[in-house]
């Protein structure tokens, strides 16, 4: 009776039409570099994407989830490896176009996804500390005029791109469809209300939805977004900064099965960007992949992980000095991971973001410190992440 469009998304012609409407003025921006931010919403488990497979502590903390060579982990440096679903990224790593920062830390210390995401995106150093996003403020520094240098590819313009600078977007009218994760959580919430629980169990598509583990966490058109982003970014009058989002990383249960397709999508999204941007633009491109927080080093009782500090940031692109694992790796015991990542500004997100803005987008250092990331003077830009630094 009702059209249950699980993940029906705008594709192809729809996107292009929406994009064609975006205006582009003639003025040149200050930079010819390209930046693609990929926000992984829900809290990526870094230790699953980039397993320290050779660490015996890791195998102990994750009796069911730990990956080993037997699971076809793709070795990077004899200690860390890539989850097999990320195998497509190995050539980028070998070519020096991909780096990882494990144990990356937002300065957020509580458990709320929405607060952590808000803080990551508003750039003020605290949740709800600013009404606009730091990338939007950065765009103002690149180009105070009318040219829409920012491009949003999500269902709504994320906070990170909101603000005074005009930006392009497609899919503003696209509303999120139901996904199984969401229905699962709704089902959990309905457990104490039989009227709602019974109706949901009869009405929800698929059997075992509310009791059993989850199937694939969705098929949002992430690859399609990557194509659209690349086409736009490659145009001389196109955007310079694009933001993409991928949902579903909040893996409190059944993590291994749910992360596999997501990681594969992420890898394919990054290689799609590279292919579609072409070698000339890719050389000037940095892709930055972040998530609002990491997850607990130890697994929980549901073959999942809970909110914690074991985060991971990824940078890719021809402008990135890759083939490395960067930042301070504190080791894997729970206490060192927690305490050391928190105390070290070297692993702070702002450190990476500032480096990208200053060394890649050529923004003035003072502008970045005063306007884009106020209240973060103690966090120095991470040196040497990019070729043009």
């Amino acid at each position: 009776m009702f059209d249950r469009r699980l993940f029906l998304k705008t594709t192809g012609a729809g996107m292009m039409t929406a994009l064609a409407a975006g205006r582009a003025a003639a003025a040149s921006p200050r930079t010819d570099s390209r930046l693609v931010m990929i926000l992984l919403r829900g809290g990526l488990d870094g230790l699953h994407a980039l397993p320290p497979y050779a660490d015996s502590e890791y195998q102990k903390m994750r009796p069911t989830l730990a990956l080993s060579m037997a699971d076809k982990v793709v070795d990077l440096d004899g200690y860390f490896g890539l989850h097999p679903a990320l195998e497509a990224l190995k050539p980028l790593y070998s070519a020096g176009e991909l780096l990882f920062m494990p144990a990356v830390a937002a300065r957020y210390r509580d458990q709320s996804h929405s607060e952590a995401q808000n803080m990551l995106e508003n750039g003020s150093g605290k949740p709800f500390g600013a009404e606009d996003g730091w990338l939007n403020r950065a765009i103002l520094g690149l180009n105070p005029g009318e040219r829409e240098l920012g491009l949003s590819l999500g269902p709504t313009v994320p906070l990170i791109l909101q603000g005074e600078a005009p930006i392009q977007s497609w899919g503003d009218d696209e509303r999120a469809a139901l996904d199984r994760d969401f229905l699962f959580q709704v089902g959990q919430m309905y457990r104490s209300d039989p009227l709602f629980m019974d109706a949901l169990q009869l009405g929800a598509p698929g059997s075992g939805l509310l009791t059993g583990p989850q199937a694939s966490p969705g098929t949002e058109d992430f690859i399609g977004s990557a194509k659209v982003a690349a086409q736009n970014l490659s145009r001389s009058d196109g955007a310079r900064i694009a933001v993409m989002e991928l949902q579903g990383w909040d893996t409190h249960f059944d993590q291994a099965r749910r992360l596999e397709p997501l990681l594969a999508q992420l890898a394919q999204g990054i290689t799609t960007l590279k292919d579609e941007l072409g070698p000339r633009v890719w050389r000037r491109t940095a892709v930055v992949v972040v998530s609002e927080f990491g997850r607990s080093p130890a697994e929980n009782d549901s073959q999942g992980t809970d909110h914690g500090d074991g985060g991971l940031a990824i940078m890719a692109g021809g402008a990135v000095r890759g083939g490395r694992i960067v930042g301070h790796w504190p080791g894997l015991t729970q206490t060192t991971l927690l305490n050391e990542t928190r105390s070290r500004s070297q692993n702070a997100y702002e450190s990476m973001f500032k480096a990208v803005l200053i060394d890649h987008l050529d923004l003035d250092r003072h502008f970045v410190e005063d306007k884009v990331f106020p209240n973060s003077g103690g966090v120095l830009p991470h040196k040497g992440l990019l070729h043009f630094s």
Binding site: F2, L159, R175
Partner: protein, 452 residues
């Protein structure tokens, strides 16, 4: 919002909390509700610009004379120009209303005296019907509302009374015996069964026929077969030539032949009948308190109804003062329409566009004035929370939340909506939601939000 009483005032008796409501209600929820009981409530400004039913129906009646195609075009245009815009405006008024209890009473009585657009000839004027026959009386007397409703061309058209003739009426005798059953009983039966005494109200088929005879001739302008050149208008018209002559016997009383006044006297009698008090009290308590209305509460409301002569201001005040109404804050489920209103209010989206508000109403199948029968919309939880309907709710709420400004903080929505009644599990799942819009979607999809 901190206390359960505020939640109850704003949800059980209101339309959900809009920004600022909690502060207005705090400390004196009953007083806040009581202050909305005004003998002559003003028509909301946004509804004043719409045309009256007379002019809407005149247009249709005129087109009817011109033939079926003109009629079709005219009713189509009427829905487009009058029905849909006013349904949207009424919904927008309720989303932004600062007298939500009064609006709930408009909805309650409009549903009690349900008229549906399944009748195409009166459909375009139904929002005007509510504006003219319901709104002025929600805190007036039940008898006045009953008479206003029963003599409104929309009700007369919907329940097929316009052409009803007494068997011995002049028009009927002139017509001869070639046609069957000139007396239509639908309006009379619905008044007895639905509007006043109730299905167990102790009336018989003879009472139905008696009332139908008294109401024969209750018609409206422009629709009379065989009088193609008669005056065209869209108002009530009493047709002496359709009216059954002679005394009428209803509920053990005899009403002497008195034309239009027979029906008026009968409606007044029905409005004062103890069975009517019982029916209305049961329905009100079911609507505001519990699917299975507590007998004590029903008895108290019925008593006030009876003692006050059906004074709906007194009855409304008595409802607010029922102890049972201030217990069990999530006993009832919001109708689809109430859920849509509450969703816009809770998220501070109090100025939505017409299309935005109509879309979910179409999706849920609860566009106002489209109830499937004269009984109106159902009023029990099971009428709203069925599998397909719940999935439609969740899907719409999820999509709605994703379209909200990302500067809207879930904590703000939570604090402003279900905070006093949210279970720990609900809070946990809201906190665990992987993004702000999903957290808000969880709040809106929670049983606490969908209940009242």
């Amino acid at each position: 919002m901190k206390d359960i009483a505020s939640f109850i005032a704003l949800n059980r008796f209101g339309l959900g909390a809009a920004p600022g409501d909690a502060a207005r209600v705090a400390g004196n929820p009953r007083g806040w509700l009581g202050a909305q009981i005004k003998r002559r409530p003003a028509l909301p400004r946004a509804l004043a610009r719409f045309r009256d039913s007379d002019s809407i129906l005149t247009e249709i009646h005129r087109a009817k004379r011109a033939g079926p195609e003109a009629l079709q075009a005219s009713t189509d245009a009427g829905f487009h120009r009058h029905f849909t815009p006013e349904v949207a405006a009424r919904t927008q008024v309720m989303i932004a209303s600062d007298t939500p209890f009064a609006e709930r009473m408009v909805m309650f009585w409009s549903n009690h005296f349900s008229v549906s657009n399944s009748d195409l000839l009166v459909g375009p004027a139904i929002p005007a019907y509510e504006r003219e026959a319901i709104r002025p009386h929600v805190f007036g007397t039940f008898a006045d509302m009953l008479k206003a409703v029963s003599s409104h061309p929309c009700m007369i058209g919907y329940l097929d009374n316009a052409g009803s003739m007494g068997p011995q009426s002049r028009a009927s005798r002139k017509r001869g015996q070639t046609q069957t059953a000139p007396l239509h009983e639908t309006l009379a039966r619905t008044i007895l069964e639905r509007h006043t005494l109730g299905p167990d109200g102790g009336y018989t088929q003879q009472d139905v026929t008696g009332l139908a005879k008294a109401l024969s001739g209750w018609s409206h302008g422009g629709l009379t077969p065989g009088e193609e050149d008669g005056p065209i208008h869209g108002r009530f018209e009493f047709r002496h030539d359709f009216h059954e002559p002679g005394p009428k016997h209803v509920l053990g009383r005899t009403y002497a032949e008195n034309g239009l006044h027979e029906g008026v006297a009968l409606l007044d009698t029905l409005a004062r009948h103890p069975a009517t008090a019982q029916t209305i009290a049961t329905k009100l308590v079911r609507h505001f308190v519990h699917d299975d209305p507590p007998a004590g509460a029903v008895a108290r409301i019925a008593k006030v109804f009876q003692a006050s002569g059906g004074d709906l201001a007194a009855v409304s005040a008595a409802l607010i003062n029922l102890d049972e109404a201030w217990e069990n804050p999530t006993a009832k489920v919001k109708s689809h329409y109430e859920l849509v209103l509450a969703t816009y209010r809770a998220t501070g989206q109090t100025r939505p566009g017409a299309q935005e508000v109509l879309e979910p109403l179409h999706l849920f199948g609860q566009l106002p004035f489209t109830a499937p029968s004269p009984a109106g919309w159902g009023d029990r939880s099971g009428d709203w929370i069925a599998p397909e309907a719940l999935m439609a709710r969740i899907e719409w709420l999820r999509g709605f939340a994703s379209g909200l400004p990302s500067t809207l903080y879930p904590e703000t929505v939570l604090r402003n909506s279900i905070n006093p009644v949210a279970q720990q599990a609900t809070r946990d799942w809201i906190t665990q939601a992987p993004s702000g819009d999903r957290a808000i979607a969880m709040i809106l999809a929670s049983p606490e939000f969908q209940r009242r």
